[in-house]
């Protein structure tokens, strides 16, 4: 009985992340449009887009290999699993004991690997260009992310997200400058990983700047739907990750019952809304940087990760 309810909760979490992801993208787009004094598409436009794409035929290049057709499903599945591990409204879900933060990074890394391969598969120049840029970003973003995780693991004594969240709510955390720096570094990495504005523009098709869009240019129909959904799922994943680590309040404990779950749900929605709003605000306030400045930007994230680890030595354990 316990196992069944645990599985049900986990299934609910998986359904929740997939259902919420397009809504979050729609919310951010709408808010950005409103901030620019435009009307903007409706909140549920991403759902409509996905449905329309699912109904359409797939146009495949003649020289596309099996990899090109398999990659969208792989990317989506891998991202979904990663998103299912993160405690969104409750800690201690059944999946979260099988994989930790490092596994999440590995999952996202393999999704990126397949995306870059698929970008090069058809052999158009745009795909290759996008893939090479994506890999350049990845070589710096992943070590920064890992350094942030090391810092968290050193503070909390675990890489398990549920344990970290539980530790973060306990009074022994206090204010630590390492954690603040780790938060900044994590936000920088999240912006780069999700192809958001200072690094890449999600709404452009200008060959000088695009990274993610260049890789998926050859996709159409249901394949494109899978990739779009995976991209918005990844954004949701990063926002929930930041929320779970740095603002883990009102997360329901293991098997806490429906009332606690409802509170956790509400808090989670509020956190997502705040995160999305901050992202939209940030994106309207900054300009896209040159692609050659991205290594500097991510290098700074890497340095911050390193600095966070260093400053742990002068924290309260002194």
């Amino acid at each position: 009985m316990v196992v069944i309810s645990a599985l049900l909760t986990q299934a609910f979490q998986m359904a929740l992340v997939v259902l919420l992801a397009p809504l979050l993208s729609g919310f951010i787009r709408k808010l950005k449009a409103r901030l620019l004094r435009r009307q903007g598409a409706s909140l549920i436009q991403p759902y409509r887009d996905l449905l329309r794409l699912l109904r359409k035929d797939v146009v495949l290049a003649e020289n596309a290999s099996w990899l090109f057709r398999v990659a969208p499903y792989l990317i989506f599945a891998v991202t979904w699993v990663a998103a299912a591990i993160i405690p969104t409204f409750a800690t201690g879900l059944i999946f979260s004991w099988t994989a930790d933060l490092i596994a999440i990074i590995a999952l996202l890394g393999s999704a990126r690997f397949f995306l870059a391969l698929a970008g090069m598969d058809v052999g158009t120049s745009f795909g290759g260009l996008g893939s090479s840029r994506e890999m350049m970003i990845a070589t710096l973003a992943e070590p920064s992310m890992l350094l942030v995780i090391f810092t968290l693991a050193l503070v909390a004594g675990s890489t398990q997200l549920s344990t970290i969240a539980a530790f973060m709510t306990s009074p022994e955390v206090g204010l630590r400058v390492s954690l603040g720096i780790a938060l900044i570094a994590l936000i920088m990495v999240a912006i780069a990983e999700n192809a958001r504005i200072p690094v890449d523009n999600p709404a452009t098709h200008l060959e000088l700047t695009m990274v993610h869009e260049a890789m998926v240019l050859e996709y159409s129909g249901r394949h494109l739907a899978m990739i779009e959904l995976a991209a918005s799922l990844k954004l949701l994943l990063y926002i929930s990750l930041i929320a779970c680590i740095f603002v883990p309040w009102k997360l329901a404990a293991l098997a806490a019952g429906p009332a606690a779950y409802a509170v956790g749900m509400f808090a989670y929605l509020a956190k997502l809304a705040v995160g999305g709003a901050l992202l939209a605000l940030f994106e309207t306030a900054t300009a896209k940087m040159r692609i050659f400045r991205v290594p500097e930007f991510l290098g700074a994230a890497l340095m911050l990760g390193l600095l966070a680890t260093l400053l742990l030595f002068v924290s309260r354990s002194l």
Partner: protein, 221 residues
Amino acid sequence: MNGLTFDIAHMLAGGLVLVSMMMLYQDRLYALLNVFALHSLVLTLSVTWQAFVQDAPHLYMTAAIALVFKAIIIPVALHRMIRQLGIHREIETVVGIGPTMLAGIGLIALAMAVMLRVTTEADPLAREDLAFALSVLLLGLLTMVTRRNAVSQVVGFMSLENGLVLAATGAKGMPLVVEISVAFSILIAFIVIGVFLFRIRERFDTVDVRALDDFKGRRRK
């Protein structure tokens, strides 16, 4: 030692180190000045907190001096100076930002390694304050070394002085006279440097310090 007291002091002093790192990252003059103003603001907050914790009213005076002179007057004056010199579009570092920041991290590690070992008997608050202050100081020196432009070298010098003030407030019982004299000597130094900047500019049509080397007949690469 109360946990929260330590935490807040720790956050503020650590924030100062972080802002020093941000200073290393900037390569535009106006941005550098804004970060310097932020640096002084964080210093003000840190000193105010120390004054509150140590129950030392004269430290409020130091905080006020830091706020008025370093966070407002000097950045505004430098802003005007840059505009008058017509160098507000200048971008200048000797080596790239990546290596500079790596060197900065190395210096912070050095400061930690030295300070934590030397001050084993002191109380934790003073210990971490001293470690952070030494890092800020070294980062200020690094800013001075890695910049070609005389104005940003001045900014590096000022941030170094901020590190000194942080160290002084962390150590209990620094008399007010010393602090005021330090603050005034910095101010005088600033004025002298400002005068010299204009002289350099008049003579060489630039504030890039490499021009001075040419003048001496010795060429840096």
